[in-house]
C-alpha cells in the first residue's frame, strides 16, 4: 500500500550533516537542546500531519459546511472561491422538533447506558474481588462483549431478539406464556400495566451496557487492587459488616474512578452511531443525534444540515466536558 510516502517524511535528517562542519570546525552547528528541539519536531511531524489532515482540518470543515448551502451533488463543483454562506442550516436544525427529540433520546441513552455500565462493572468487580478457582477464566469471559466486533455483536443480538426464531421470543412464548412474540427492535413503546415501556430504546441501552461494562469492570478492579487492606481489616475486627465497609471504606475510594468512567462513557455513548444504527437503524424511537447526522448526510444528501447537526452535537459534548472540568476544579479548590 502507500507506505512509502509517509515513511519518507518520517525520516529525520542525519544528525551530523556535512555542511556545518565545513563552515566552522570544532564548533557544533546546533547545541544539544537545539538538536533535541529539531528532532522532537521531526519525530512528531508525521503524526501531526496525519492528525491535522484527517481530524483537525475536517473539523474546521464541519464548521464551514454548517454555514454553507451545500448538497452532496455540489461536491464536484465545490471551490473555495464560490462559497455561499448562510445561517439557514443552523436555524433549520435548531427549529426542528426532530432534532430536539433526537437530542433528548441521546441524553437518555447516554446517561442510562453510562450509569448502567458503571454500576454493572462495579457489581461484577466486587463479586470477582476475592480470588477463587477459575477466577482468571471468568474474568476473561466477562471481557468478551468488549472485544467482540460491534457488527458481530449486533448481528447476534438481532438474531437473539428476532420475533420469528430468536431465542428470547422462543423462551417468552413457550415458557413464559407471552401471547405473541415481541418485535423488540422496532417497538417504540408497549404498555406494561400503568407504564409505557420504550422497548427498542431499552434494548439499545441494554446492548450498550452489555458492550461497555467490561471496561468499567477493568478500571474498578484495578482500583480495588490498590485499596489499602489494613483499614478494612481494622473495620472488620471492630465488627463492621460488609455493606458498611463497602459504604464507608470502598465507595469513597472508588468514587473518583467511577465518576471519571461515567463521564467518559457518557461522552462516548453520546456520539455512538454504530450500535444503534446496526440494531435498529434509528427506528422504534431510538433515533439519536449521530443517526440524524448520518441520515441528513446520506438519505437527504444535505451536507449543510448534517454539519449543522454535528456542530450542535459537538457543542453539547464540549458543554459536558467543560462542566466536568469545572467540577473537578471546584473540588480541588
Amino acid at each position: 500500500m502507500s507506505e512509502g510516502a509517509p515513511t519518507a517524511t518520517a525520516a529525520p535528517p542525519d544528525p551530523a550533516p556535512p555542511a556545518p562542519q565545513r563552515e566552522s570546525r570544532g564548533r557544533r552547528a546546533l547545541t544539544i537542546s537545539q538538536r533535541e528541539d529539531l528532532h522532537g519536531r521531526l519525530l512528531v511531524s508525521p503524526t501531526v500531519i496525519v492528525v491535522l489532515l484527517f481530524a483537525v482540518l475536517p473539523f474546521l470543515a464541519v464548521v464551514l459546511f454548517a454555514f454553507l448551502d451545500v448538497r452532496l451533488v455540489d461536491i464536484p463543483r465545490l471551490y473555495i472561491d464560490n462559497l455561499e454562506f448562510t445561517g439557514e442550516n443552523v436555524a433549520a436544525v435548531w427549529g426542528s422538533p426532530r432534532f430536539w427529540s433526537a437530542a433528548t433520546t441521546t441524553v437518555i441513552y447516554a446517561a442510562s447506558s453510562s450509569a448502567g455500565a458503571v454500576l454493572v462493572g462495579l457489581a461484577v468487580g466486587l463479586a470477582l474481588r476475592r480470588p477463587f478457582r477459575g477466577r482468571g477464566v471468568i474474568r476473561a469471559l466477562v471481557l468478551i462483549p468488549y472485544v467482540l466486533p460491534v457488527v458481530a455483536a449486533a448481528t447476534i443480538w438481532k438474531t437473539l431478539l428476532n420475533p420469528g426464531y430468536g431465542l428470547v421470543n422462543a423462551v417468552g412464548t413457550e415458557w413464559l406464556g407471552w401471547a405473541e412474540p415481541i418485535a423488540f427492535l422496532t417497538t417504540t413503546s408497549r404498555d406494561l400495566g400503568p407504564f409505557a415501556v420504550p422497548v427498542a430504546l431499552l434494548c439499545v441501552i441494554a446492548f450498550e451496557v452489555w458492550k461497555t461494562f467490561p471496561l468499567a469492570f477493568l478500571f474498578i478492579t484495578a482500583r480495588l487492587q490498590v485499596v489499602p487492606e489494613d483499614i478494612e481489616e481494622a473495620a472488620q475486627i471492630d465488627g463492621a459488616g460488609k455493606t458498611r465497609i463497602f459504604r464507608h471504606l470502598l465507595l469513597p475510594e472508588l468514587a473518583g474512578v467511577m465518576a471519571l468512567l461515567a463521564v467518559l462513557r457518557f461522552l462516548w455513548s453520546f456520539q455512538n452511531f454504530n450500535d444503534i444504527y446496526l440494531l435498529t437503524g434509528g427506528a422504534g424511537g431510538t433515533e439519536v443525534l449521530a443517526v440524524r447526522v448520518y441520515s441528513e448526510l446520506v438519505v437527504r444528501a444535505n451536507i449543510g444540515t448534517a454539519s449543522a447537526t454535528g456542530l450542535l452535537m459537538t457543542g453539547m459534548l464540549l458543554f459536558v466536558v467543560a462542566l466536568y472540568a469545572w467540577m473537578i476544579k471546584r473540588e480541588k479548590a
Binding site: M1, E3, A10, P15, H39, G40, R41, L43, V44, V48, V50, L53, F54, A55, L57, P58, F59, A61, V62, F65, A123, V124, L126, A127, L128, I138, L141, V142, I144, P145, V147, L148, P149, V151, A152, A153, A154, T155, I156, T159, L160, G164, L167, A170, V171, E174, P214, G241, K242, T243, L267, Q271, N274, L278, A290, V293, I303, S307, G310, T314
Partner: protein
C-alpha cells in the same frame, strides 16, 4: 452477633448470582452465535429452543457459504489489508511521536498533547461528514487507501498515548550509553528503544489492528457503493439487510470474531510478560 452472618450469607448468595449471570450474559451470546452457525437454517427456524445441535445435525456448511457465495472471504482480505496497513502506519508514527514526547524537549510539545486529546474526544460521526466530502473531492472515497489514512488519524493519538507509558519504562541510561557510542537518533529508536519496549509496542499494534478490523461507520460511508472493496464488518452488516439465512450471518460473525479474540489473548499475554519483566528489576 447474628447480623453479620446473615448479611454475609445474603451477600455470598448475591455474589455467586452476579458471577453466574455475568458469565451467562457475556459468554452466552457468542456461544449462541457459534451453535447457530453449526445448524441447518431450517432447524433453527422450526426449533429455536434446541440450542445444542444433535451430532448428526451439525454442519459446517454455513462457513464456506458465507465466505464464497456471499463474498465474505474477499471482504475479509480487504479488512486484513486495511487493518495491517493501519496498524503498521499507526505504530510507525506513534513510536516516533511517543519517543519524542517522552525523551525530547521541543517547542510545541504541550500543544501537540492537547490537540491529540481533543481529537480523541471529537465524535467520529461529526468528522465523517467533512471527511466524506473532502475525500470524494480528491477521489479517495471508494478506495482502501483513504480509509487507512482516516483510521490512522483516529488511532494514532491513542496509540501514542499507550506507547508513552511503555517507553517511559525504558531506562534512559541505556539510551545515553548507546548515544555516547555514536548511535544516531533513529538507530537508537530502532535498535535500543524498540526492542526494550517490544511487548508494549506489540500490544498497541494489536489494539490498533482490532480497532481497524472492527470499524464500521467510515467503511459504510466510503465503500458502500463498491461491493468489491467492502470490509468484512460492512459486508456482514449489509448482508443482514437482505434475506440471508441467519446461520450464514452467524458463521460470518464468528469468523470475524476469531482473529480479534485470538489477538486479544495474545496481547494480554504480551502485556503480562512485559509487566513482569519490568517488575523484576525491583
Amino acid at each position: 452477633m447474628s447480623r453479620p452472618s446473615t448479611e454475609d450469607r445474603v451477600l455470598g448468595v448475591l455474589r455467586w448470582t452476579v458471577i453466574t449471570v455475568a458469565v451467562l450474559v457475556t459468554a452466552g451470546p457468542l456461544l449462541y452465535g457459534f451453535l447457530l452457525s453449526l445448524r441447518p437454517f431450517q432447524s433453527v427456524v422450526s426449533e429455536p429452543l434446541d440450542l445444542f445441535p444433535s451430532l448428526d445435525e451439525i454442519t459446517l456448511e454455513a462457513y464456506p457459504t458465507a465466505m464464497a457465495e456471499y463474498g465474505l472471504g474477499g471482504n475479509m482480505w480487504n479488512s486484513l489489508q486495511v487493518a495491517l496497513a493501519t496498524a503498521g502506519l499507526a505504530i510507525l508514527f506513534s513510536v516516533l511521536g511517543a519517543y519524542a514526547a517522552v525523551r525530547l524537549r521541543f517547542f510545541g510539545r504541550n500543544t501537540v498533547n492537547v490537540v491529540f486529546l481533543g481529537v480523541y474526544l471529537l465524535p467520529g460521526i461529526v468528522l465523517a461528514v467533512p471527511l466524506f466530502v473532502l475525500l470524494s473531492r480528491v477521489g479517495l472515497t471508494g478506495t482502501l487507501v483513504g480509509l487507512v489514512f482516516v483510521y490512522v488519524a483516529q488511532t494514532v493519538p491513542v496509540a501514542l498515548y499507550m506507547l508513552r507509558t511503555y517507553l517511559m519504562a525504558v531506562p534512559s541510561s541505556v539510551e545515553e550509553a548507546a548515544m555516547i557510542d555514536g548511535c544516531g537518533r533513529l538507530a537508537l529508536i530502532r535498535r535500543v528503544v524498540l526492542p526494550l519496549a517490544l511487548p508494549g509496542v506489540a500490544a498497541t499494534a494489536l489494539y490498533v489492528f482490532m480497532i481497524a478490523w472492527n470499524e464500521y461507520l467510515f467503511a459504510l460511508l466510503f465503500l458502500v457503493a463498491d461491493r468489491e472493496r467492502w470490509t468484512v464488518s460492512l459486508g456482514i452488516a449489509q448482508l443482514t439487510e437482505f434475506s440471508v439465512p441467519t446461520t450464514v450471518l452467524m458463521a460470518g460473525s464468528i469468523a470475524i470474531t476469531v482473529p480479534v479474540v485470538a489477538g486479544f489473548f495474545l496481547a494480554q499475554r504480551l502485556l503480562v510478560t512485559g509487566l513482569t519483566s519490568g517488575a523484576e528489576k525491583g
